[in-house]
């Protein structure tokens, strides 16, 4: 497939794209619009995390929002308690990873897959949602941070530049950081996928039994995939808490998990760029639908998910790529005939 970029070329393109975004977007758009675009970028990181564990690892979690929510909540709680945000950023990665390690161990070492894995992840996300919602009242606090129940945690401190506790990131800086993290995640995952580890993860997805017979501990690879995905989702959650300066239980909601799944399905399961495209496209569509307020956005999003599963099971990006490939192949054939 000559249409595929190699990793270094992709890294170059991603880096150039990130630089362009960082310098052009704040120059063209006002601060409010930059803030709007920042959420797209943050959610695209979340989309990438599911794209990795589902599209590459073959693990479909129906409660992926748990890790996103854990990232947001643990960042908020740590930042309020520590009074310092660099370590809080790390906490927002460590907590979701640890939880993924426990949950993943519980599931994969019990050989849970498919529907059963769906049932467990969905249930776990509901537990988080219900518990987070029920923590209203002054008695529910972790250290200095009140959990706030349904209302969530307000006035979460913004990230500061490491070593400069007074230098709080402004909107433009936070936007730039999000873009850089998205590009890094994308490139990092690409390199990971083409490493030995990534190839084994892919082979486990393709044929679990065969990989096992070749001597790989399937459970361990699934667990590691799950943890990596959770860590990335945690980063997205941390940025999300920074973006709005608050977090509430809706980060754990089923609708949040569904949304991520829709982005990945629409963009294309098994690719990395697809879910990013799906996320941008659908988030833009959702915002637009909410602005014009004539059709309920759930009708459109739900309809899109069903129709894509029925008619474009590969998703947008692979379909377009294949189409381009076919057209290109036909064109070269014509040329050969002409000669």
């Amino acid at each position: 497939m000559t249409l595929e970029l190699n990793n270094w070329a992709a890294a170059l393109v991603a880096g150039a794209g990130a630089l362009l975004a960082i310098f052009l977007i704040p120059a063209i758009f006002n601060e409010y619009e930059v803030l709007q675009m920042m959420i797209y970028v943050i959610l695209a990181i979340l989309a990438l995390s599911l794209a990795f564990i589902w599209g590459i690892g073959g693990i479909l979690s129906f409660g992926h929002a748990v890790f996103f929510g854990l990232g947001a909540y643990s960042y908020a709680i740590a930042a309020i308690n520590f009074g310092e945000t660099t370590s809080a950023f790390l906490v927002a990665i460590i907590v979701p990873s640890l939880f993924a390690a426990v949950l993943g161990y519980f599931m994969f070492y019990g050989r849970i897959s498919d529907v059963y894995l769906g049932a467990i992840t969905l249930t776990v996300s509901l537990v988080f949602f219900k518990v987070a919602n029920s923590t209203s009242g002054p008695s529910y606090r972790i250290g200095k941070a009140p959990l706030g129940g349904f209302n969530g945690i307000p006035s979460v401190p913004r990230l500061t530049v490491p070593g400069f506790p007074e230098w709080e990131l402004g909107t433009i800086e936070l936007f730039s950081l999000s873009v850089v993290l998205l590009a890094l995640t994308y490139v990092g995952l690409r390199f990971l996928i083409s490493s030995d580890f990534g190839r084994i993860v892919l082979s486990v997805k393709e044929n679990e039994r065969r990989s096992e017979l070749l001597g790989y501990d399937v459970r361990r690879y699934k667990l590691l995939t799950f943890i990596i995905g959770a860590a990335i989702a945690g980063i997205a959650g941390c940025l999300y808490a920074n973006w709005g300066n608050y977090t509430d239980p809706s980060v754990f909601a089923l609708s949040q998990s569904v949304q991520v799944i829709i982005w990945v399905v629409v963009g294309g399961v098994g690719t990395l760029i697809g879910p990013i495209v799906g996320c941008f496209l659908l988030q833009w569509l959702t915002t637009w639908l909410t602005t014009i307020d004539t059709i309920n956005k759930d009708v459109i999003l739900g309809g899109i998910l069903t129709i894509v599963v029925l008619l474009l099971p590969q998703g947008l990006v692979p379909t377009i790529r294949n189409l381009a490939w076919t057209v290109a192949a036909r064109a070269t054939r014509h040329e050969e005939k002409a000669v």
């Binding site: 249930t123 518990v131 759930d298 739900g302 029925l310």
Partner: protein, 288 residues
């Protein structure tokens, strides 16, 4: 004594609600290996149908026991024709497509009825047990659950449709070879599951406030009950409902309703982990 009776009634009513909520999904999963994630929305639609019918002057019992199941059964038939039929054998794709449908139904209902809580009041008043007043509607729920269970068992065991459905479940190719049309059987089974969801929605309408998004609370409970129950439709649903319903009610009584639900969900997670094939994958094998 009064305490034991009222507590027992609570537990029984909790179990009965779970059975009603899960049964439709269980039949569809057990017979067709399809997880319908729009199941919660089928319940929601049943509830809205019942509320609309009652508000326009229809008798309460006719609305919840006949109009709600028939309407949702019809919707099920359409959904099977347009979506489910094209995805047989692709269990994950079916889940995704029906999850899309669930969003679609929530959006449509919000557009029509608005995002506000509606409800109807039950015509059954309080009943006195000893020195305690309990809601008489609880007896009604238990009654509906028992009658539904008996009817579904009779349907699967004693009728020609039941025979054909069970045969198709066991071996669709062989059933087709002896002249059964599996597509038709699946369509009818799916519609039956939808109708049962509609019934459950109608019955639940007077006791829970109904909002367009209520389906998510139902679908998770139904989903874990079905997965926890395992392959046998009736026995699985009954045993899983009994375990989860009891845990929920007892834990709610000891702590708070929220923690009761959490205890139930955690029990479900543990159960699925310990018995991935469900309760009936290990016990009561071969039952329906």
């Amino acid at each position: 004594m009064t305490f034991v009776l009222t507590a027992g009634l609570e537990v029984l009513a909790g179990i009965s609600s779970l059975v009603l909520i899960a049964l439709g999904l269980a039949i569809v999963f057990g017979m067709m290996r399809v997880i319908n994630l729009a199941h919660g929305e089928f319940l929601m639609l049943g509830a809205y149908t019942a509320i609309t019918a009652v508000n326009s002057g229809v008798n309460f019992y006719i609305a919840i026991l006949f109009i709600a199941p028939l309407t949702v059964g019809l919707i099920g038939l359409i959904v099977e024709r347009l979506v489910i039929r094209h995805l047989y054998g692709r269990i994950v794709d079916t889940m995704l497509a029906t999850w899309g449908l669930s969003l679609l139904f929530v959006g449509l209902t919000t557009t029509v009825f608005g995002n506000t809580t509606t409800g109807i009041s039950s015509p059954i008043g309080a009943v006195t047990i000893g020195n305690a007043n309990v809601s008489g509607y609880k007896f009604f729920i238990i009654g509906v659950a028992v009658v539904t269970i008996v009817l579904v068992i009779l349907l699967l065991r004693k009728t020609e449709f039941g025979l054909i459905a069970r045969a198709t479940m066991q071996n669709p190719t062989m059933a087709a070879a002896v002249g059964v049309d599996p597509k038709r059987t699946y369509a009818v089974t799916f519609a039956l599951g939808a109708a049962l969801a509609g019934l459950a929605g109608g019955v639940m309408a007077p006791i829970t406030g109904i909002v367009p998004g209520i389906g998510t609370t139902f679908v998770a409970k139904a989903f874990i009950t079905v997965i926890g129950g395992g392959a046998s439709v009736m026995v699985g649903t009954l045993t899983a409902s009994t375990i989860f319903g009891t845990v929920n009610q007892v834990a709610s009584f000891l702590t708070t309703p929220v923690l009761g639900e959490v205890a139930m969900l955690l029990t479900a997670v543990l159960l699925v982990r310990l018995m991935p094939q469900g309760i009936t994958g290990r016990f009561f094998r071969g039952s329906i």
